[in-house]
Symmetry: C2
Subunit: 404 residues, 2 copies
């Protein structure tokens, strides 16, 4: 049996987690696997952009000297098929949007502003140099950076990388996260439940949190409260090819006889950074490291797992991915009176919506028990309370953190 | 050559799109593929929750009559292993968090409040009935709905479904979306670019938009501006097993000679709902239907593709998935003077951040040209302008829409 040390404050726990969360090593990934990740290289333009004087309208490429005249149409230039000619006064080319202007084209005139007559085209009486042409290299010169190291790969940045001819990019990848439920009382989904057991809801929830947030690639394991089986499972996970960067366990971290996770971690050579945080829910939270690998032991109550994920695991994963670890809290107004008492820092799930004049309205969600997940399923935020007794009126201002 | 009809207003275009976007047919999916989707069935509790009187602390299950006494510890009850006995006065059981209380247990006393002495345990002088026990069925009765039809499968809802023993759930699935770039000037990523051609950035961008938003399963095709190849490609896509629910094409919808998409769609039997919207960018936007299938023809300029996705494709996909089609606009203040003129409704990409006192600050992002994607890659919102001339001072209030 291990005894938690004196619980530490949540802010201290978060800094200890973030101190140990290192930026992940860059990897090359196919462009579409890199969406939303942070770029670990600069991407230069592979050539001038645009790579040629580009027509931006369907119409005619003309000489300025032919304003008000009817030059002869000597060629058609579709997009993608450059035409090798040098345009001279008295001649014009029919040209399509996106097509390269032949040499000598001084302006493009929209088809709607012209009148075609056989092989001749009547032009307006005034022409403007460079009209409806984007000059070669006017957006970017060959070799100039299109995307900087550290840029986030938004869909627009993905388009820019594709423009630079990239099919793969070097990025900070998502950490691989092994998600493990412990507890002899657990039955897997799809298995027949036997008396005295409950369904394992923590593992699917943790995997769902990772999938929804895009913060990690979840892998999935089950364990029992048997020490030997926990040891074997952890060793198997760590020997994986490739092994996970982060292990998140639920259950087995309190002070009970069968809470064997701390011992199993110590036996593996893990260093426990802290065990116990002055918070509710989730006081027996354990955080350990094994080399560069981070290990979170979350108390088995589903709401403790959720709070542990949002409060500590997600910030660590964001830091590893090169993203801001935490997001600024917000202020909201209570939709009704609310009171709560705890000698620990408290997170209360809430549904926060926008009021008529744009201010945020918070409705705390309280289930019938710690396992009452259906009452809180619509939560999109936490309300954060300092230790103490809070007796709040409707409209009182409260501090919140978004779930995602 | 097809001629667009008179352009319609963006609001009318959006209603026409949404009128044609039907809720997708429900499908059964494995739990973790259903994250964030809308539930198409009610999920009842498969048994009482909790399924037994559950200890919520590690400690001793006791009789109230033994307050202040030292009953004999007759058994150990771990989680997951029910013990068949009926507790009588003078006896106690050692019990673990999550374990089922044997019959006759009236309260659980925390291990920290007791003193063990051999096979006896010293109890506090006052005991409270039901303390540290969650009674069977107190959260939910067997058969009572844990999740309602129409609920969104948040991670907490996934946990609730797992609690109900579900390994699969019936949900409104993501539409399958075929993403097609047209244009003879396009080179695929990884291919050697030939003179007169540019890289295809629209297809990766559209796929990235779908992946980032979780609004569709993208599939990916290339085409040229050759009418026969466009026809064959579209027929091949529609004959897919399974075929896509939505086709999004970029390019080929203006009035140029080589803009063959409208003709190709008509030849397939598609009904063009509208072609041309009074907006900038993206005026030649085309929307068609082929049976229940929706077809979007977005102008080939990357910023038109982006605006077409956010303005029309994403709302249609959200409607098909049972989500609110659009999100409320927000107000922000310009970070500096800004002017813009257009006779059409205009979307301007912007980076919107929170100011010191929580108000939103908008910085319009203007590239050097319509293909200058790197200048706008950090955009997280559009600023929306009505037709006309706008000359705005720093701090002026503008209306915005988030990109996601």
């Amino acid at each position: 049996m291990t005894t938690p040390r004196q619980p530490i404050e949540p802010a201290e726990a978060l800094s200890l987690v973030l101190e140990n969360a290192r930026l992940s090593a860059p990897e090359s990934l196919p462009l579409l696997e890199a969406v939303s990740l942070i770029l670990a290289e600069e991407i230069p333009a592979e050539h001038d952009l645009p790579p040629f004087d580009r027509a931006t309208m369907d119409g005619y490429g003309v000489r300025l000297a032919d304003a008000g005249r009817s030059p002869r149409v000597v060629a058609v230039v579709p997009a993608g098929r450059p035409v090798e000619l040098v345009l001279e006064d008295g001649d014009a080319v029919e040209i399509m949007t996106g097509a390269p202007c032949p040499q000598g084209v001084e302006a493009v005139v929209k088809v709607e502003s012209t009148t075609r007559d056989g092989d001749r085209v009547r032009l307006p009486s005034t022409l403007e140099r460079g009209r409806h042409i984007v000059a070669r290299g006017s957006e970017h010169r060959a070799g100039a950076p299109l995307l900087s190291k550290g840029a986030r790969l938004t869909p627009l940045a993905i388009a820019a990388a594709a423009t630079a001819g990239r099919a793969t990019v070097r990025v900070i990848p998502r950490p691989r996260v092994a998600v493990i439920s412990t507890g002899a009382e657990l039955t897997r989904p799809g298995e027949v439940r036997v008396p005295g057991r409950i369904r394992d809801s923590n593992r699917p929830m943790m995997a769902a949190l990772l999938l929804e947030s895009g913060l990690g690639e979840p892998s999935d394991h089950s364990v029992t409260d048997d020490r030997k089986i926990i040891d074997e499972t952890l060793r198997g996970i760590l020997a994986g090819e490739p092994p996970p960067h982060v292990l998140v366990l639920s259950g087995g971290v309190s002070v009970g006889r069968f809470d064997l996770v701390p011992e199993a971690l110590l036996a593996l050579g893990a260093e426990v950074v802290f065990h116990g945080v002055r918070q509710r829910p989730g006081k027996p939270l354990l955080f350990a490291r094994l080399g560069e690998r981070l290990i979170f032991g979350l108390p088995g109550n589903p709401l403790s797992v959720l709070a542990g994920f949002h409060g500590y695991v997600a910030p660590a994963l964001r830091r590893m991915m090169g993203l801001p670890a935490t997001r600024p809290p917000f202020s909201a107004h209570l939709d009704g009176p609310f009171q709560t008492t705890s000698e620990r820092h408290q997170r209360v799930l809430a549904e926060v919506t926008s009021g008529a004049d744009g201010e945020l309205i918070a409705r705390p969600l309280i289930g019938k028990g710690s396992g009452d997940l259906s009452a809180v399923q619509g939560a999109n935020a936490y309300l954060m309370f300092n230790p103490g007794h809070h007796r709040l009126r409707a409209g009182a201002e409260v501090r919140g953190e978004w779930l995602k």
